[in-house]
């Protein structure tokens, strides 16, 4: 295990950075998309609500691997005609973004629903539009409320980014498979790669638990 780590450290480090990069891009993207689709599920327009719901249900109920392979194999050649190159990394990151955004939409929608209805009405009677109230009053509270769940979603994102390995996305898992294949030491390789993942996910997980613990205590006091 130690030899694998020292001998292939550079390769692991490359994969680690790619995993991190993909996760962070997908986090930002899915936060934006997730919030958008959460709000669209609540705007006073039935048709838009339905569309947003359909988006969420579709991406929540299909495996990430199917979404990713779809972009890698089907969408990529379509966009190359437009001069856009979509490699495994891009396809994987888009897949991750769409998949995670559906979960984040659910988290944020739940938080918005938990905010007393009176706030929206108060905003409206004070002369603000629906969008203004949503943006300035409701969403900031909803975000604060969602922090623990959003943290969990980010942890899931980092773990799920391993799907890039299927489309040669050069991430940690892809590199690990290559190393395991060339050294035939699967045990050592997968132990090392587990450590690399835990370096990201464990601190996040404990951080989230701490925040949750603090807010629970604050709530009771």
């Amino acid at each position: 295990m130690i030899e694998i780590l020292t001998k292939y450290f550079a390769t692991f480090a490359d994969g680690f950075l790619i995993t991190l990069e993909s996760s962070i891009i997908a986090l930002i993207g899915s936060l934006v998309l997730g919030t958008l689709f959460a709000v669209l599920q609540l705007v006073p327009n039935k048709f838009v609500n339905r569309l947003a719901q359909a988006y969420v249900e579709i991406f929540r109920n299909i495996p990430l691997l199917v979404i990713t392979l779809f972009f890698f194999a089907f969408v990529a050649p379509l966009v190359t005609h437009l001069g856009i190159a979509m490699d495994g990394f891009t396809a994987g990151t888009i897949g991750l973004t769409l998949y995670t955004s559906s979960f984040i939409a659910e988290v944020i929608r739940a938080s918005i629903n938990a905010i007393p209805k009176g706030q929206m009405e108060a905003g409206r009677t004070n002369g603000m539009t629906w969008w203004q109230t949503m943006r300035l009053i409701i969403l900031p509270q909803a975000f604060k409320m969602s922090i623990p769940s959003l943290g969990n979603q980010f942890i899931n994102l980092v773990k799920n980014s391993s799907v890039l390995a299927f489309v040669a996305g050069m991430d940690l898992m892809y590199q690990a498979n290559n190393i395991a294949q060339s050294t035939f030491d699967s045990m050592g390789t997968y132990m090392v790669v587990a450590l690399f993942y835990l370096v990201i996910t464990l601190p996040l997980s404990y951080g989230m638990k701490y925040i949750e613990y603090r807010s629970n205590r604050g709530g009771n006091a």
């Binding site: 890698f72 498979n177 294949q181 060339s182």
Partner: protein, 287 residues
Amino acid sequence: MEKAKKKRFGIILTLLSMIFFFGSIALLAVFSANSQDTTDTLERVKNSHRMVWGVKADTKLFGLMNTKTGQIEGFDVDIAKAVTQQIADDLNITIDPVFTQVTSSTRIQLLKNGNIDAFAATATITPEREKIIDFSNSYFDAGQSLLVKKGSDIKSVADLNKKGKTVLGVVGSNSVVNIKKYAPKAKVLGLSDYAQAMTALRAGQGDALTTDNGILYGMATENKGYVVVGGTFTTEPYGLAFDNNQGPIVRAANKALKEITASGKYNKIVKKWFDGVPGINWEDLKR
């Protein structure tokens, strides 16, 4: 429960569970290490009257799943069947060949795991692999080549040796190792199996797909608009693979290979699979 008692209870439970956890791993390791050394593949096959072969399920001509029958069909499969039959005849017993699907990235592990007795899965005999598994003599001589889109500017492996070119291959295949030597400037992407690699080539994820010519010709027959170019730039002798230190069954397989070649059965199988495949002259493959 009072505090001190509860604490002692906790410590004992922790220790017990740790002993159980690590103890069971150690036991398993010792137990199976012993059992493995004594397993002789030939003995196991003789006793069970079955020989479990790993074959490809996604590779045209060599091993392809027929969804109609649920059977895997191809050159590798027929060779494995013929060799099994011959070994059985030589020993004067019956042995049923059983087929399990493998990919380039799983076949060696499966063999080491003991899930399969042998594999006939387009595997090149290489010195690196011979360190950890045993090979029979070669049963087919392939050579690495390239599959590209018709009209591509890639005519040979030299055209790939440029910055910005991407080659597709399969993780765990020898061709991925080779291409890094022949086109060190190209970027190599390893997919998990040939279906994926072909999908990636069609999706424009790479300039060429590299693997052995036989496999590529098989892909070209199903994918109009894709051609094999540049001839072969390596020789890839395929061997039947067995676990390490399995001398008896390797000798039995070599003897069987010799016998099916002498009886003309080998050539029949070659004709069955390669006669009429564009780009291949099956007569050249006769032995």
